[in-house]
């Protein structure tokens, strides 16, 4: 935060309210109101341009369904995490809540049917489904941020277990669709 003090316009003395603003000669010749307008238009345009450019630079084009998913060998759940049992395993009805979360937080990358928009994993594949509930829970919790899988540790534990319940239903529906 800065303190108020006299404002000087280069070589032109102290400013009074409504005076022209700026430090250089060019800026001094622009009325304050007009300068504010330039600042606004400039800022808004710059905001949009920056946002668009960033998005375009960092986003790969979308393909339907990830047919070529290769698992990151360095992203493996430790044995004690894999050994964890889903505390909601005997409440399959809670998978409906897991589906709601999946459609809200995961489907944009993994598609609503779990088959994955590259680079997101195809969650219906055996190499995913063969992992234990504990391992899937660990991956959802940790994320693999270097590879664009976010960490969901901020969601309550129970909700992450609900999502695991739902992931198991993807396998069944994928098999039924074959």
């Amino acid at each position: 935060m800065i303190e108020m003090s006299e404002l000087k316009c280069a070589g032109r003395g102290t400013l009074a309210s409504g005076d022209r603003v700026g430090t250089g000669c060019l800026a001094c010749s622009v009325p304050a109101k007009q300068k504010n307008l330039f600042a606004w238009v400039g800022t808004v345009t710059a905001t949009l341009a920056l946002t668009l450019a960033l998005c375009a630079m960092f986003t790969p084009p979308a393909h339907a369904q990830n047919l070529t998913y290769i698992q990151d060998p360095k992203w493996q759940a430790p044995p004690e995490a894999s050994a964890k049992v889903n505390p909601l395993a005997n409440k399959p009805q809670l998978a409906a809540g897991g589906k709601k979360i999946f459609l809200r937080d995961c489907a944009q990358c993994h598609r609503p049917d779990g088959t994955g928009l590259p680079p997101a994993a195809n969650l219906t594949l055996p190499l995913v489904q063969q992992q234990s509930d504990g391992a899937l829970f660990w991956k959802i919790t940790q994320g693999n941020t270097g590879k664009k899988m976010p960490s969901f540790s901020g969601a309550p534990d129970a909700q992450r277990w609900q999502v695991v319940l739902f992931l198991r239903t993807l396998e069944r529906s994928a098999r039924a669709g074959q």
Partner: protein, 297 residues
Amino acid sequence: MPRPKFAFFVIFLAIALCAGSSIAVAQESPYFTTYDHHLEEPGNLELEFSSTSAPVGGTRADSAFVAPYLELEYGVTGWWTTELYLEGQGRVGDSAVFTGWRIENRFRPLKREHWINPVLYFEYENINEATRILKETPGGPPDFGAPNAESSRARAHEIEAKLILSSQVHNWNIAENFLAEKNLSRSEGFEFGYSVGASRPLSTLASGSDCRFCAENMSAGVEAYGSLGSTVLGFTGRGNSQYIAPVVQWQVSSNSRVKFSPGFGLNDHSYPFLLRFSYTYEIRGFGRKLAALWGGR
């Protein structure tokens, strides 16, 4: 000067139109000034319309004000989130002015979750003395006496760094932020501040149906923020502003949420009462949609 509300609306409309409407929201803490370690999901764009207001002026002859600001937050990668702020301010009995812009970047250096998760934050601010959004309150109390016409001419180019520490403990989020700020426009030394918060969702199970008013859509907590002194004013604690503020958040729909926080000044150098409000709209897969618009598939 165009009205800030109108400009905010134009930006919002443009982005919403080009992004479409299949959108959603994830795990977000209800804080206003405290950051946790959960970055924006890659490719998502979050539009946050917020305001900080003081219904009664501060103790230093400042009048009541409303300071609206717009945040555009984009998840560039899983470990990098970038944000742009546009802010304004209007005071009772005075004018409404544009108070500047800020650009900030947050980086998560560690890949995995730990007991304490660090995030590094760097910000550049091109603001003026009329700023009142009070996203952070480092150093000594600002001199708020001057009218907007005068204070908005005093520009401040500031850089700021934060160390964000955040933990998840039994569905609670606990976060501590420490910040250092340097005004490049004049010599005020380094100013220091903090913000700490704790929050949790009101219900931890998700129901199978869509519900608007159920506890799973609410989270609540408390944050405390203020100043730790500066290299010029010293670190005795005298003259620093300090606040405590309960925070609540309601996820209104899958893609939008509102936050609210009444803040209480704890000493004579703080506003006695602050009201913060925000509405957030999240556009999922924004980057991908944009790439598709530009000819990608």
